[in-house]
């Protein structure tokens, strides 16, 4: 075998084949569950997209042609968002796989050229960061093809993956370039630079949102003019030199049976994608090893880490716990805050939350209808719950697995193993409760919802905070992955998928039984205040079901998790 590219391709294939064969021989139902879950999510997204496109086309107030400019703007916004997210996720994944993985340490000591090692890791990072977007984007584009006027031709479905693949190279390359730039030029300030960049993106988004909502107020919220104005706001994204605009136009032309223009845009996407990739790999040949050296030797020989004001801040709300438990919680928090790949994602989570809740504040200033407000209020509850579910799945579930090979240290400590789980559980509940309850109270008050709705939402968030934490900590102990050191890979593995599905089911049950009936009641009654005596029977029946579901989701996984943890040998 002469080419390193072929060598790596062969390696990847062997690794995949062996991993799959182990997985199938040990538990084929794990593979089946993952496949089933993906299919379920895909089907749901497809149904929502199809319905959405159908509404845009047929709703009398909208009647937007699906082969017009407005749809192009919509796709521009979609691919622009995708670009930003892919830049960040590829950059973060590459950072850890290029500079903190033992595999790259091994490969860099071999005669394989640096650019080949880089492209091997780059392809892995892009594939890993984009698979979720494939799951998200493919139902949307398939639904568009089926709903567009005259139904898209066969080659539309064949060419969409090609557009997507070519497009992935561009944000992936930008993320990789940013990663190389940060590591090579600013090794001592990389943490600050990363925070600054994320803050800048969030700030830019907030400014744009403020301007956009001010215009929406003038044009009438929800009107067609407003929608057109909204899409023209993202018109700047549709410049002739912007790559994701070529994707939007190419896909639209494919749907409109214009193969000549489709091929032109596909050519543009691929040529620029490959050019960006080549430039990145060329720069990696010059700067990757240099960056590796700077990362390894940029700081002090032995960096001193000590207490931090954030650790002390965390210990305050834990005053009711004993010293041992507090120390366990602070240990987890320290490990988390010292890993930039971890907290950078929290910042992204916070950014998304800020966008949403800023929008809420503006809705308050709008003269929007009561039914609209009620709808927004329940949507806010769902969004908050989704954020909590994603947070616990991504950050809390892998915590026990991350103890990994060091588990024996904790295992030999003179403390009951239940305290390990309780420490993580309290850490998770505290984070979820503080953020979730604040967001839900704040948004409901802004929307002027009745106190009963506020209480119901608070109860739902409380139950979900405790339930998600119980599920993530409990299932984290039932289905740990001690071999993996990357928390994001633990979160998307089998255990993480089971946890996500269980979390989403709990989310549905709690919202339907705890918040749903009150919301319905509030929508029915014209007044904002509902006396307790007038609360109908169905509310009193469904409420305990939700509370029971929340309690079960906490108690049962924790119980079986603890049983599993106690039986574990280290």
């Amino acid at each position: 075998m002469s080419s390193p590219a072929l060598l790596f391709q062969n390696l990847r294939w062997r690794l995949f084949r062996n991993a799959l064969s182990v997985l199938l021989s040990q538990s084929w139902w794990r593979v089946a569950t993952i496949a089933y879950s993906c299919a379920l999510i895909w089907a749901f997204l497809f149904a929502v997209s199809w319905y959405g496109f159908h509404q845009l086309k047929t709703q009398p107030t909208w009647r937007i042609p699906l082969n017009g400019t407005l749809i192009e703007y919509l796709f521009d916004a979609f691919f622009f968002t995708l670009t930003i997210l892919l830049i960040f996720s590829t950059g973060i994944i590459l950072y850890s796989s290029l500079f903190a993985s033992s595999e790259t340490g091994f490969l860099l000591s071999t005669p394989i050229p640096d650019d080949q090692v880089f492209s091997y890791k780059f392809q892995g990072a892009v594939a890993f960061s984009s698979w979720a977007f494939v799951l998200l984007g493919s139902p949307l584009l398939l639904a568009y093809g089926l709903e567009v006027e005259g139904i898209a031709p066969w080659y539309y479905y064949a060419v969409v993956p090609l557009f997507f693949l070519g497009f992935l190279l561009i944000p992936g390359s930008i993320g990789a370039l940013a990663c190389l730039f940060i590591v090579n030029l600013l090794p001592r300030l990389r943490k600050q630079l990363l925070i600054g960049l994320i803050a800048l993106v969030i700030l830019g988004g907030i400014v744009w949102m403020v301007v956009w909502i001010r215009q929406a107020r003038e044009l009438g919220f929800g009107s067609r003019t407003w929608f057109e104005s909204l899409l023209s706001e993202v018109g700047f994204l549709g410049g002739r030199l912007v790559p994701f605009h070529w994707v939007s136009r190419g896909i639209k032309y494919a749907a409109m049976r214009r193969p000549d223009l489709m091929a032109y845009n596909l050519g543009l996407v691929w040529s620029y994608g490959l050019f960006a990739y080549l430039v990145t790999v060329w720069l990696a040949r010059k700067f990757y090893r240099r960056g590796y050296n700077r990362m390894a030797s940029g700081g002090a020989l032995r960096q001193r880490f000590g207490g931090h004001w954030l650790d002390r801040l965390l210990t305050w709300p834990l005053f009711f716990l004993d010293e041992q438990m507090r120390m366990l919680i602070v240990k987890d928090f320290r490990a988390f805050r010292r890993d930039p790949a971890q907290w950078a994602q929290i910042l992204i989570f916070l950014g998304i939350g800020t966008f949403y809740f800023l929008l809420m504040r503006r809705f308050y200033e709008q003269d929007i209808g009561r039914s609209f407000k009620i709808g927004i209020s329940i949507l806010t509850l769902i969004a908050t719950s989704f954020l909590m579910c994603a947070y616990t799945g991504r950050f809390i579930f892998p915590m026990l697995s991350l103890e990994g090979t060091k588990f024996w240290i904790l295992g030999l400590l003179p403390l009951d193993r239940s305290r390990l789980m309780m420490g993580k559980f309290i850490f998770s509940v505290l984070g979820c409760l503080l953020a979730g309850e604040f967001l839900i109270v704040f948004s409901n008050l802004m929307l002027g919802m009745a106190w009963l709705v506020v209480v119901a939402h608070m109860l739902a968030v409380g139950l979900l905070a405790v339930g998600f934490s119980g599920l993530s900590v409990g299932l984290g102990a039932v289905l740990p992955n001690f071999r993996e050191t990357d928390p994001s890979k633990i979160a998307v593995g089998f255990g993480g998928t089971v946890n996500l599905i269980a979390g989403l089911m709990l989310l549905g049950v709690v919202i339907i039984t705890v918040a749903g009936p009150i919301q319905l009641l509030h929508a029915r009654t014209p007044e904002t205040a509902i006396p307790i005596a007038e609360i109908p029977w169905f509310v009193w029946v469904s409420l305990p079901i939700g509370i029971l579901a929340g309690g079960l989701a906490t108690w049962y996984p924790m119980r079986i998790g603890l049983r599993n943890l106690r039986a574990m040998e280290f």
């Binding site: 002469s2 060598l7 595999e103 860099l108 000591s109 090893r289 390894a296 002090a300 020989l301 071999r483």
Partner: protein, 256 residues
Amino acid sequence: MIELIHVSKQYGNKPAVKDLHLTIPKGELFAFLGPNGAGKTTTIKMMCGLLFPTFGAIRIAGFDLETHGEDARRRISYVPDTPFLYEKLTGREVLQFIADMYHMPKEHSARRIQQMIDLFTLQPFVDDLTQNYSHGMRQRTVFAAALLHEPEVLIVDEPTVGLDPRSIRLLKDVLRAETKRGATVFLSTHSLDIAQELSDRIGVIHQGRLIGCGTLDELRHSAELHGTLEEVFLKMTEEEQKPAPAATPEGAFAPA
């Protein structure tokens, strides 16, 4: 074969290796000793091209590691203290991957793989995934992979940790055989008896500085002590560690 030319390495402002000047000829087994944190692993990482010297240069078989890294690394095999193995590959697949990486012709690679399997007695587990290997099995596989392409320079960091006596014996035989073949072996170890038994020359590094280099007799002479390597090593590193005489208020040094 290995030339370290006034090599210094700094982590930020802190020096890890100071002005290390050393030449190791072809076919020599050089033992590199030093207390924890003395700069052994930093030196080894520079010799493999993972780190660049802050000052100075390193040449392997005449190739400068910074300017002709690929040519230099083609001649090296590096066995770190915590070696990496692809968990989802079998031992045989790991060996095949290494053979392909070094562009070994198919027939030659098949023959060498079988030789390594026999030499390190990998046959009972070579077709199992490496994730199921014990420490000893992993270490034997890593050595088989390192020697597969017959490197001109073998750099080994703490190879005997966690190995049973039989494996240590095998390792010693293999290292000796490698030098007989003409390979240069750079062995970093805390095991002084292995260094004493195997090495042609010994280098002692302490606080980043090479404080002694030569045969055991030369080291004894330099330390003015006719004892075992352990005694010589302890005396040399102890002398280096002695605190500097306290300065008097006038700035002159008080007698110790």
